[in-house]
């Protein structure tokens, strides 16, 4: 009898010991707040596949869609804080609470690492008469309400990008009414069919239309021109303004995961970011890569949260 107890105790100790020593010892869930097939989904799937290689456990990508991202972000924040549920949180987490859609803020997560950022471009039809972003803004200012813009839902990141720019240039954001759409692709289609005149969206989203000669980018809201179109001017060069905005993605865990788990994940994620597979995948799709570790990502999100909040208020979208 005693031996049985001893053996049982030994097994228990071994199991407990190994569970603590080697996170992860079972599959990890990676929640994506957006649908299968989008940019966030694709990014999560490559990160998941590479983390699996690093940590030798399956990383299952799970799409929790709906509510413009609220449902998925909520699911990540509420998951058990044991490191077995992670998520790819997106720029919307720093926007939605300013608009009153959810109480969740970036501080409700433990960031593991910033993986990507895609700055907004400004696109018009190829046959549009404006040669530069300056021409376009002059035309908008001269005919308030005549031009329309589209590319995401009401109050989404690209809506804020263009409204913020107008405000920054002393033009009433209402001069360019927003037509809500399900994303950049339908917005671009609308641009080509003549339904709207301006689509602010990221470069990879507009790439096929630009290459097909249907759409012309005028400028990029970033410090440097994008790798795909090195000749595209920045707003700084065109207008002298510092207005920049980008959609970004951060791998995050629920708040309060064990410190050692966070460390393991952080180290693995850095390796993933540095891998040639990740770089190559992102470059092929045209996505921008940016890295920040846990602390860096927290600071980055806090700054973005403040900026986006101020911008939302300035253009009258915040409640």
């Amino acid at each position: 009898m005693k031996t049985i107890f001893k053996v049982a105790a030994l097994i228990a100790a071994l199991v407990a010991g190994s569970a603590q020593a080697q996170y992860p010892n079972r599959p990890v869930q990676l929640i994506v707040p957006w649908g299968a097939g989008g940019g966030t989904d694709a990014t999560a799937r490559i990160i998941g596949a590479l983390l699996e290689k690093e940590l030798k456990q399956p990383f299952n990508v799970v799409n929790r869609t709906g509510g413009s991202g609220v449902v998925g972000h909520d699911a990540i924040a509420r998951a058990p804080a044991d490191g077995y549920t992670l998520g790819l949180i997106t720029v919307e987490i720093a926007m939605m609470h300013h608009v009153g859609l959810t109480a969740l803020k970036p501080t409700d997560y433990t960031p593991i690492g910033l993986m990507n950022a895609d700055p907004s471009g400004i696109n018009v039809r190829t046959d549009a008469p404006y040669k530069s972003v300056k021409d376009l803004l002059t035309a908008i200012k001269a005919n308030p309400g005549k031009f329309k813009a589209s590319g995401t839902g009401q109050g989404g990141i690209w809506h804020l990008a263009i409204a913020g720019l107008l405000k920054d240039q002393g033009i009433d954001p209402g001069a360019l009414p927003w037509v809500p759409s399900q994303g950049a692709a339908p917005g671009l289609q609308d641009l080509v069919s003549g339904g709207v005149e301006v689509v602010p969206c990221s470069i990879p989203e507009a790439r096929a239309m630009i290459d097909a000669g249907k759409v012309r980018p005028l400028a990029i809201m970033d410090a440097n021109p994008p790798a795909l179109y090195p000749k595209l001017p920045t707003l700084k060069a065109e207008l002298g303004t510092d207005w920049q905005i980008a959609a970004w993605r951060v791998i995050a865990a629920p708040k309060g995961i064990p410190a050692d788990v966070q460390k393991t994940l952080g180290a693995a994620l850095k390796k993933v970011y540095d891998s040639s597979e990740y770089k190559e995948f992102m470059a092929k799709q045209g996505y921008g890569t940016v890295w920040a570790d846990s602390d860096g990502a927290a600071k980055f999100m806090a700054a973005a949260d403040a900026n986006l909040g101020a911008a939302l208020k300035a253009v009258g979208l915040a409640k």
Binding site: A42, G67, V70, L101, Q154, P186, S193, G194
Partner: protein, 496 residues
């Protein structure tokens, strides 16, 4: 061009590529059969595997799996009244009624044969005129979409046999359900009661599974009748009588294929909308509309062809402009980029053998659908031999698993139970459930396109009638809507 086709042949008829096509065909057949797993999900699951493949087999895997999944969604629909994918929902009731009458082999055979023909038609259109058609599709704006959706809804009221009043009430119920959530043009939460799950709205799959399958289980428990007796003890040769059907219904087949391709090309509407609209159209133009809903094969011929031709149609704008025609091509575009086959006109000029290889894969996928589909039906028919006392709980289990899997949340399971109960009460009182489901499919699109149009026209509704295509669609809609009134007035005049 001939040289490029020769190269494309070499690319496709390679043992590795053929193996990939066969495996993904079996995978697609399996996924389509399971309620809750859609063709879109089959594609998403394939993406990580395609990472390791050369371009042609990667695209071939997606093309084949989705074509199979859309067809095999008909099988559980016909045998158990659970549509395997939303694209089969339009004619599930019809096919199930045929099974009850002992004509399961005709229902399934028509689904199989006409799916393949529809798919081949869509492929032929894609092969001959993809660039030109994509150019036209880009000219469609919200005004035209709005009318197309209204046309689809108008058709819904006439689906099935029950009274127009009851169908309209069911449709309004569906439209009301479509209002739930945050995904509306204003981005404002509606009917969410502060619940995060409800901000996502009611997803179509749990609702559909609940309304068709769970309600059927409830009905079985309440009435305890054995509805599937003797008549369906066996399923004969599914290809028997197909030639006769082909000769009898050439027009529905052509109409379904053409409409399916057109709807597929339009960005934002896919196989499910194609099936609904062509089913309604089949009834409208049929010589025997009174037989619809009682187990009549005509609607299955037309809608079965339509949903598979829509699949091919959706690839047209995806290949030419990188604009997805439906949710499947939205994923496929990502794979094309990854493989260096960037969508755009250059795809047709620089490396034509790759694009021709994709065309050939479409043809091949629709051809092997016939033997593989036949095999699947052979296996699936064993389901009918099972005792209902074993079958019904098993179906319920599948429903629960499927509705959980769609968003990995218990909320989906709650939804199937709520909608199962609702559908049971509705059907016991003579209300059809199909219009309610269509209301959810199209409700959001209708609102979105209406609001967008109004913003663009600065609140001026006249643009709905002054754009040429929009006006044509508007006139058709009003004719369909007012047809019963004309009929009534005509009868009054004659009797007076």
């Amino acid at each position: 061009m001939l040289h490029a086709y020769a190269q494309a042949f070499a690319l496709v008829f390679d043992p590795y590529v053929l193996t990939v096509i066969l495996c993904s065909a079996l995978f697609g057949l399996f996924v389509g059969c399971i309620p809750g797993l859609t063709a879109t999900m089959a594609t998403a699951l394939l993406v990580p595997i395609t990472f390791f493949m050369p371009p042609v087999p990667a695209v071939a895997a997606i093309v084949t799996a989705t074509a199979m999944a859309i067809f095999s969604g008909d099988i559980p629909g016909a045998l158990l009244r659970i549509p395997g994918t939303p694209a089969s929902a339009a004619y599930t009731d019809e096919a199930y009624a045929m099974t009850k009458k002992g004509q399961a082999e005709i229902a399934l055979g028509a689904g199989l044969v006409f799916s393949a023909i529809g798919g081949l038609f869509g492929t032929a259109v894609m092969m001959t005129s993809a660039p030109a058609l994509a150019e036209i599709a880009l000219q469609f704006s919200d005004f035209e979409y709005f009318w197309m959706v209204v046309l689809g809804l108008a058709g819904a009221v006439f689906i099935g046999n029950s009274s127009v009043l009851k169908a309209s009430i069911s449709l309004l119920l569906g439209l009301l359900v479509a209002c739930i959530g945050l995904d509306n043009p204003a981005g404002h939460p509606r009917f969410t009661f502060g619940n995060a799950e409800l901000t996502g709205g009611v997803s179509l799959i749990p609702m559909m599974v609940g309304m068709f399958a769970v309600s059927e289980i409830l009905r079985y428990m309440v009435h305890m009748e054995p509805p599937l007796k003797l008549a369906t003890e066996h399923i004969g040769n599914v290809f028997k009588g197909m030639w006769r059907l082909l000769k009898k219904y050439p027009w529905p087949l052509v109409r379904g294929s053409v409409l399916g391709t057109i709807i597929g090309i339009q960005p934002g509407s896919g196989a499910d909308m194609a099936a609904w609209m062509s089913y309604a159209m089949a009834k409208k133009f049929s010589k025997e509309p009174e037989k619809f809903g009682t187990g009549h094969v005509e609607g299955i011929v037309e809608a079965g062809a339509a949903n598979n031709s829509a699949l091919a149609g959706a690839w047209i704008p995806a290949l030419v402009f990188g604009i997805p025609g439906d949710s499947i091509t939205a994923i496929a575009i990502g794979v094309l980029y990854l493989k260096g086959m960037n969508p755009g006109p250059t795809l047709f000029i620089n490396n034509p053998q790759n694009i021709y290889a994709i065309f050939l894969v479409f043809v091949l996928a629709n051809l092997i659908m016939l033997p593989l589909g036949w095999l699947t039906i052979k296996l699936a028919k064993n389901v009918l031999r099972l005792s209902r006392d074993i079958l019904m709980p098993t179906i319920l289990l599948f429903c629960i698993v499927g509705s959980f899997a769609i968003n990995n949340t218990v909320f989906g399971v709650a939804l199937i139970l709520v909608f199962g109960l609702l559908a049971f009460v509705l059907e016991e009182n003579g209300f059809p459930v199909a219009p309610a489901i269509l209301g959810v499919v199209l409700g959001q699109m209708m609102e979105e396109n209406f609001i967008k149009s109004m913003i663009k026209s600065d609140g001026d509704p006249s643009l709905f009638f002054t754009r040429p295509i929009a006006m044509g669609l508007a006139i058709s809609t009003f004719i369909i809507l007012l047809w019963p009134v004309f009929g009534w007035a005509w009868r009054k005049l004659r009797t007076a």
